[in-house]
């Protein structure tokens, strides 16, 4: 569960709706998913993209891998049901920009990820959804995966303030870029409201760009 995350607070700033929801720490059971370069086509196959909402994505998460493994996929194994933290290896979420991938993971119940590394767009999509992805040394990630496999009941805690992950008496440091980390802690990870609030500066920046004034796209 998110802790001590508050419910989304809606603040009115200059008449605009800005969503504030602090994410300082995520605790819960974990699900290990061993393997490098797990791409977004595997997380959610393209056929599940044929929809105009994200509502039904939970059923599609890793569906082909799960079918191929006949119940042995971690997402199907009984002891990982209800897990909130996904422990992945290198370059997780590579491939397509589809936000459907983190949306599908979130629909399944994932609230945070630990990995050796994440693909850039996947990481950005997770941030936009309020799902922190922290990285750790390869050895640490492997150790965490082993600890979870040995004891799936054990709760893992990712603490963004201390940049630390803890399971039982094992603790290790994790990494997240400072800008992203402070956005989660301050609850400003949902940038939309801030971006919109700066509309005047946006227009001023645009006005200085020569191409805004030429060609058929010229602003009316």
């Amino acid at each position: 569960m998110f802790y001590p995350c508050r419910d989304a607070l809606q603040t009115c700033l200059r008449g605009l709706l800005i969503m504030v929801s602090e994410v300082k720490q995520v605790s819960g059971n974990a699900v290990p998913l061993i393997g490098n370069d797990i791409d977004t086509d595997r997380i959610i196959p393209a056929r599940y993209l044929k929809a105009i909402t994200f509502d039904d994505l939970g059923a599609g998460v890793f569906v082909d891998d799960r079918k191929a493994l006949n119940g042995e996929h971690p997402f199907d194994q009984i002891h990982y049901q209800g897990a909130k933290i996904l422990i992945a290896n290198r370059n997780f979420g590579c491939g397509s920009s589809r936000e459907h991938a983190p949306q599908a993971l979130a629909k399944w119940g994932i609230k945070a990820l630990i990995g050796e590394s994440f693909a850039e767009i996947f990481f950005g999509n997770c941030v936009a959804m309020g799902i922190p992805c922290v990285t750790a040394e390869s050895e640490v990630v492997k150790q965490l995966q082993e600890l979870v496999i040995a004891n799936p009941e054990e709760v893992i805690t990712i603490n963004l303030e201390k940049l630390q992950v803890q399971i039982g008496d094992f603790t290790a440091s994790v990494v997240m870029s400072e800008g992203t980390r402070s956005a989660f802690i301050a609850g400003t990870w949902d940038a939309c409201g801030q971006l919109v609030a700066n509309a005047q500066q946006v227009k001023a920046t645009a006005a200085k760009l020569p191409y805004i004034g030429w060609g058929n796209l010229a602003a009316s």
């Binding site: 490098n36 370069d37 909402t53 767009i121 971006l195």
Partner: protein
């Protein structure tokens, strides 16, 4: 920290400010949307009661879900019909230009924006599709984004981003006959790995890129993302300007002169500083084929599937998975691998010059018995141009099917799909498990000329035998 590169200059010019998170608020000069990643973004906008801030700077088309055989409406697939309808409605409600089927300008989003002259040097471009990196061929900084970010661009014409590092990838010299820009990028990814570019923008420089035409440059930049780099670009030059001049959205008259001066000023400085530099020799690059399930698992057409011992330790796990999935064994020559389906198309290689190269191979020859081969132009304009040159006739005479424009079997969100364990030779960009519409289907990536060669021979073969 890079300094004086095109990336730095464009980044600075588009910076609106620094957000409380420390991230940069970056203005986006051109926003492209399509039916798959936009409907949820429009819904989010509505939920927050926000309007599109610069509707004239967003352009829409439909590509992923369109059938390539019968495009009559309503589509046979109800869900596809619902998606195109949602896009039509969203564009209409928000005053966004939409190039629909039959408009003469519809096609794969990364094919139409350059051909309309929408893509220009010095712009920042975003699209809810990872292959947006293609537009970097013009010296633009182009990002693939997710749906929440599509919402952000619609609402504010900006994104919240952290700046990338810049790696210069220099390739010098002449490509050997039978080696194309697709081989160059497959070779780069093979060497630097699929995550080698994470955190970087790739600047493609050196004499090999300087000699490439715009379509070849687009193929390279298109797949920068497959190497982990969120964007890739080539500094603009006379070849860029010649391509752009007189296109629909290109600056005209006095603006054209102003534009060239501005574009020239953006190129990376001779003494620009890079975070990293990697140098390749064009002569070392062979016609390349992927054998596995990531675009980094590539080999020269005359090479063998690598054994685990030949690979870096970190690449072994996925290699083992790839042997099993692809049903190829380590040490097996890739040449001679039997092929069921040949697909020429996609935003990587569905442009007119790609079709011309493939047609040269197909001309006067026949597709091997039992092989299904088809050509899908990247846009309505590409189709028209190809037909005017008679390429459609060449392909059809050789036994290829000639289709309507769309993404087709690149990701198979439309009726074009592999069946069961079928194996395809494909000019697209991803060989991920299940990518081409069958959860056990297999994909080998290569240049369009190599796909045409595979179609004729019925197996993976060296294009140089048919030149």
């Amino acid at each position: 920290m890079s300094k004086g590169t095109l990336f730095d200059k464009v980044w600075d010019l588009h910076t609106v400010g620094t957000l409380p998170s420390g991230l940069t608020q970056l203005f986006i000069g051109l926003h492209l949307i399509h039916e798959v990643t936009s409907p949820q973004a429009f819904a989010m906008l509505k939920e927050r009661d926000l309007k599109v801030l610069f509707p004239e700077r967003t352009i829409a088309t439909v590509d992923h879900i369109v059938p390539t055989e019968n495009q009559a409406r309503p589509f046979v697939d109800n869900m596809a019909e619902e998606m195109i309808k949602a896009l039509e409605k969203n564009c209409q409600e928000n005053d966004i230009t939409f190039y629909n089927i039959g408009s003469g300008n519809q096609g794969i989003v990364h094919v139409i924006a350059p051909e309309l002259g929408l893509t220009q040097p010095g712009m920042t471009i975003a699209c809810g599709d990872s292959h947006t990196s293609s537009h970097g061929a013009f010296g633009a900084i182009a990002f693939g984004i997710g749906t929440s970010q599509v919402r952000d661009v619609l609402a504010s014409q900006t994104l919240s981003l952290s700046k990338l590092k810049v790696r210069k990838i220099e390739v010098n010299g002449n490509l050997k006959p039978g080696v194309y820009s697709k081989d160059v990028i497959l070779h780069i990814i093979r060497t630097l790995g699929v995550k080698g570019g994470v955190g970087y923008a790739y600047e493609f420089a050196g004499t090999t890129f300087e000699k490439m035409n715009m379509e070849e440059r687009m193929t390279v930049c298109n797949m920068a993302i497959e190497g982990g780099a969120r964007c890739g670009y080539v500094n603009p030059d006379q070849i860029t300007y010649d391509y752009l001049q007189n296109r629909d959205f290109a600056p005209k008259g006095a603006d054209w002169e102003k534009a060239i001066a501005w574009w020239e000023s953006l190129s990376s400085h001779a003494d620009a500083e890079y975070d990293d530099i990697v140098v390749f020799n064009a002569e070392d690059i062979p016609p390349t084929v992927t054998w596995g399930i990531t675009p980094g698992q590539g080999i020269g057409v005359n090479e063998k599937v690598p054994t685990a011992a030949e690979l870096l330790e970190e690449d072994r796990f996925i290699a083992e998975e790839a042997y099993r999935y692809m049903d190829l064994y380590p040490g097996q020559p890739i040449q001679g691998t039997k092929i069921d389906v040949c697909f020429i198309g996609s935003c990587t290689n569905g442009r007119i010059s790609d079709l011309r190269e493939a047609a040269k191979i197909a001309q006067g020859r026949q597709v091997a018995a039992g092989v299904k081969a088809f050509v899908v132009p990247g846009s309505e304009r590409v189709k028209k141009e190809a037909e005017a040159e008679g390429l459609d006739k060449i392909f059809q005479a050789a036994g290829f099917e000639w289709r309507e424009p769309g993404c087709s079997m690149c990701l198979a969100m439309n009726p074009d799909k592999l069946q069961g364990r079928q194996i395809s030779a494909s000019s697209s960009n991803r060989n991920f498990k299940g990518r081409q519409g069958s959860s056990s289907g297999r994909t080998l990536l290569m240049s369009p000329a190599m796909v045409a060669t595979a179609a004729i021979k019925g197996e993976i073969a060296d294009v140089r035998e048919l030149l």
